[in-house]
């Protein structure tokens, strides 16, 4: 373990990734202390058009939008939205994916057939349409977004876990546990899962980037978090309308924020994989959408 940890610390890209993720997370947590204005505060109603679409300056680091809102503040608070959705959806997809994958790998037979079929169905499903439909038809709200995105991502996790379980279930310690009369659930929980958590952790980290990207796409299409809650994708869409009028800052900065956070998770995930699970090829991973 010592060895793994020090290898991780020496892995420069991983450290860069950790730095990006940590910095953005800290900014999100301490958002009220590092921003001058609340992200939904529309200054034009008090100060008029002179605070409308102001380019980046000392007072507004990332400029303002048509409502005279501070784009910097919206970007910082937007990190909260992205991280919240990323984390919650990952937890949901892990919960479903690990459970079903482990059951399929451990019991095999009909259970495996059903889970594999379900996973294949979800892989073959045009997935952005699925999420769009869910979000468009059901009542608006955050929990729903987590669930919609989490549901879609479970299949990848399940497939990974199933493969891993298959590879360890013939191992001696598993067989020993079974010989001692351990129940299926107990064997899975106590003996199998702890031994396959590394690749799952890698996949979850890499998956965060994909989810953040997906959330921003949904918001860009107008189906994500509804205003006035700041969301990077939504900022880009609104800013896009004023891009040709010269207000580049409104869409450029949120885009850079997405890039930084996704890059952070990608570097971190790659680094973790190098350290924890050198066997896995980069190619095993589905390229994220965005």
């Amino acid at each position: 373990m010592e060895n793994t940890w020090s290898r991780f610390l020496r892995n420069k890209p991983a450290m860069a990734g950790l730095f990006l993720v940590a910095a953005i997370t800290l900014a999100a947590v301490f958002a009220p202390y590092i921003t001058r204005y609340h992200p939904t505060e529309q200054l034009i109603w008090t100060e008029g058009s002179k605070v409308q679409l102001v380019p980046p300056c000392g007072r507004f680091w990332f400029g303002t939008d048509i409502y005279g809102r501070d784009v910097f503040s919206r970007v910082v608070y937007g990190a909260r939205t992205s991280l919240l959705i990323g984390t919650a959806s990952t937890v949901i997809s892990l919960a479903i994916g690990v459970t079903l994958g482990a059951l399929a790998g451990y019991y095999g037979g009909v259970v495996d057939d059903i889970v594999s079929w379900l996973a294949n169905v979800f892989f073959a499903f045009p997935f952005i349409l699925f999420v769009l439909a869910l979000v468009a038809y059901l009542p608006p709200g955050l929990p729903l977004m987590y669930a919609a995105i989490g549901i879609v991502n479970w299949a990848g996790v399940a497939r990974l876990v199933r493969g891993q379980v298959l590879s360890v279930r013939e191992k001696e310690y598993v067989e020993a546990a079974e010989a001692l009369g351990g129940s299926g659930a107990r064997v899975i929980l106590r003996h199998i899962l702890p031994n396959i958590m590394a690749p799952v952790l890698v996949q979850a980290t890499l998956g965060m980037g994909g989810i953040i990207m997906l959330e921003s796409s949904l918001s860009f299409l107008g189906f994500g978090i509804q205003p006035p809650t700041p969301s990077w994708g939504y900022e880009i869409d609104q800013g896009r309308q004023y891009l040709l009028a010269g207000a580049w800052w409104w869409s450029v900065f949120p885009g850079m924020a997405i890039m930084a956070l996704v890059l952070g998770f990608n570097l971190l995930g790659d680094g973790l994989r190098d350290v924890l699970d050198p066997r896995t090829e980069a190619g095993e991973r589905r390229w994220g959408r965005g």
Binding site: T40, S49, Y67, A136, P140, P227, Q241, Y242
Partner: protein
């Protein structure tokens, strides 16, 4: 079947982001004095794909825009809102106002070919009064299911025909090939202007019967342009009708253009970019980010004029918390209309004090309306026993401009203790939600169909018109109902004016709407486009028969 009150153009609930222009500035027309040049294709970028090109079903601005090029009505409305001859050369109205006799133009022919060189079923024959009789029967036939058949429910025999008690619509008859007579069951002064609506266009029976339900995808009419091809959601092409009945003042045949091309570009930014690249002669909407640039770049071909229309948010007065008049008034005090128009809309609208737009008969310039007063709003909410404020959800049809305005209201209402949540959906889904009472606070727009307050007050707020007929707010006030009912039959203009002003005052006091602003209509054209007139009823009602390209 229950006798339906007439609803003029539910359609004109404006669902597309209609942009308004400030009054003044170059209004109107690029009519050239000289005769036009032939040739060229008029390319226009539109925001939404038309739904149906069958005039009886064309019930959105996108469809109307095309239908006005393919078909002809008996009468037209000129740029000042006056009724003018079209396929009817002249008409006569009996003393009692019940019998309309139309003298039809001779030599008007249906399109002989369509979709390239395909021959139409009618073969390009002449239009006679019998065609009109058949068309009116087709429109009002219940099986046709036209959403606007009851626009003319005052025609004699309408109910009997709808209920199956009569085989034909008794009130419409052909006296000879070129004399058409329409008899009404009761007097209704604006009737003649109703006939200018696109639904009441003459149709070739053979082609309608050939295509049945799909006539809307294969339209054949008498208009200056013929249907050529249509890729849904993308491009619609019209070609010149070489047999068009109209000619210019020097006797040259019309239209001048070889054809028209309508391309769907949902994104307003892209519309503007492409227009600047010279890929279009016109675009439907100039979005606010580029408004000033458009004024500077195209000073002589960016037309703007006030349009009789109102942008509002309806409230379902039977649902909490909107069942309380004070809440509705509070909401009206909570928004800064002028602020939004100036800061977000480039001043392209007039704040709405009430229901009726300026320029409308009966418009009351002295109406007080609501001002921006958050303190008063708070106080009213407290009086309404919501001392901690209220939380409401606005549902609107997906559109960047609606979204921008709603987001500003969100902030302003917060100051008054109103928490506003937003939800957007497609237009048809919004109507459904309104009807089912799922949407209790909803964005709508209404543009005039005929210049009479009846078209606003009666249709949108009389309790006879609940739901899809026009009154989605379910507002009911006996005094308002009495006034708007009696005004329909009243013949003395001054008395009518007084009744409508009183009715409007009541509606403003009861506030079933959040009154937002009155529209203006605009059309941005390339400078080389000549002969164009911006109609007072909105750019989507423009006819392109004498438009030409000077290049």
């Amino acid at each position: 079947m229950v006798k339906k009150p007439f609803l003029f153009a539910i359609i004109t609930f404006v669902l597309v982001g209609m942009l308004a222009g400030c009054a003044g500035a170059p209004v109107g027309t690029s009519k050239g004095q000289a005769e036009g040049k032939y040739g060229g294709t008029f390319r226009i970028a539109i925001t939404e794909s038309p739904k149906s090109l069958n005039p009886v079903h064309a019930n959105d601005t996108s469809s109307m825009r095309v239908v006005y090029q393919l078909f002809d009505t008996l009468v037209g409305i000129d740029s000042e809102g006056k009724v003018v001859p079209n396929l009817a050369e002249s008409w006569d109205i009996s003393e009692d106002g019940l019998v309309y006799t139309f003298k039809l133009k001779e030599g008007v022919k249906f399109h002989a070919t369509t979709e390239g060189e395909v021959e139409t079923a009618n073969g390009g024959r002449e239009v006679t009064a019998e065609d009109w009789v058949w068309t009116f029967n087709y429109i009002t036939d219940p099986d046709t299911n036209s959403a606007r058949a009851y626009f003319i429910d005052m025609v004699k025999g309408y109910d009997d025909y709808r209920e199956g008690k009569a085989d034909t619509l008794a009130g419409v008859t052909a006296k000879d090939d070129y004399i058409l007579q329409i008899e009404l069951g009761h007097n209704f002064a604006p009737f003649i202007s109703v006939l200018a609506y696109n639904t009441f266009s003459v149709l070739p029976r053979e082609d309608v019967e050939k295509w049945g339900q799909d006539f809307g995808l294969h339209p054949v009419g008498t208009g200056p342009f013929k249907f050529s091809e249509w890729t849904q959601g993308d491009k619609l092409v019209l070609s010149r009708n070489e047999n068009y009945w109209r000619s210019d003042s020097s006797g040259n045949s019309l239209p001048y253009l070889d054809g028209m091309e309508l391309k769907v570009i949902n994104d307003l930014t892209m519309q503007w970019t492409e227009f600047n690249l010279g890929n279009f002669e016109a675009i439907e909407v100039v979005d606010d980010p580029y408004y000033h640039e458009a004024l500077e770049k195209y000073p002589d071909s960016f037309f703007r004029r006030p349009m009789m229309g109102t942008y509002f948010y309806g409230m379902n007065v039977t649902a909490k918390p909107f069942d309380n008049k004070k809440v509705r008034q509070a909401i009206n005090y909570a928004i800064d209309r002028q602020g939004i128009i100036d800061l977000l809309r480039n001043g392209r609208a007039t704040p709405a004090k009430g229901v009726l737009p300026p320029g409308m008969f009966g418009y009351n310039p002295d109406l007080e309306g609501y001002t921006y007063d958050p303190a008063k709003a708070k106080q009213l909410l407290a009086e309404a026993e919501y001392p901690n404020g209220i939380s409401i959800t606005l549902q609107y049809n997906t559109d960047d401009i609606h979204k921008r305005i709603a987001e500003a209201f969100q902030q302003q209402m917060k100051e008054a203790g109103i928490k506003l949540e937003l939800k957007h959906m497609e237009g048809a889904a919004l109507f459904e939600a309104m009807e089912k009472g799922e949407a209790t606070f909803f964005r709508l727009g209404w543009v005039v169909d005929y210049p009479d307050p009846d078209n606003f007050l009666y249709v949108l707020l009389n309790s006879a018109n609940f739901g899809p007929l026009g009154n989605f707010t379910l507002y009911r006030n006996p005094e308002f109902d009495r006034l708007t009912n009696e005004a329909r039959l009243e013949t003395d203009p001054e008395e009518r004016r007084r009744m409508y002003q009183e009715a409007e005052r009541i509606a403003v006091e009861d506030a079933p709407w959040l009154f937002v602003y009155h529209y203006t209509t605009e059309q941005l054209l390339q400078p080389y486009v000549k002969g164009y007139t911006l109609p007072s009823f909105g750019e989507h009602t423009a006819r392109f028969y004498d438009v030409w390209l000077d290049k």
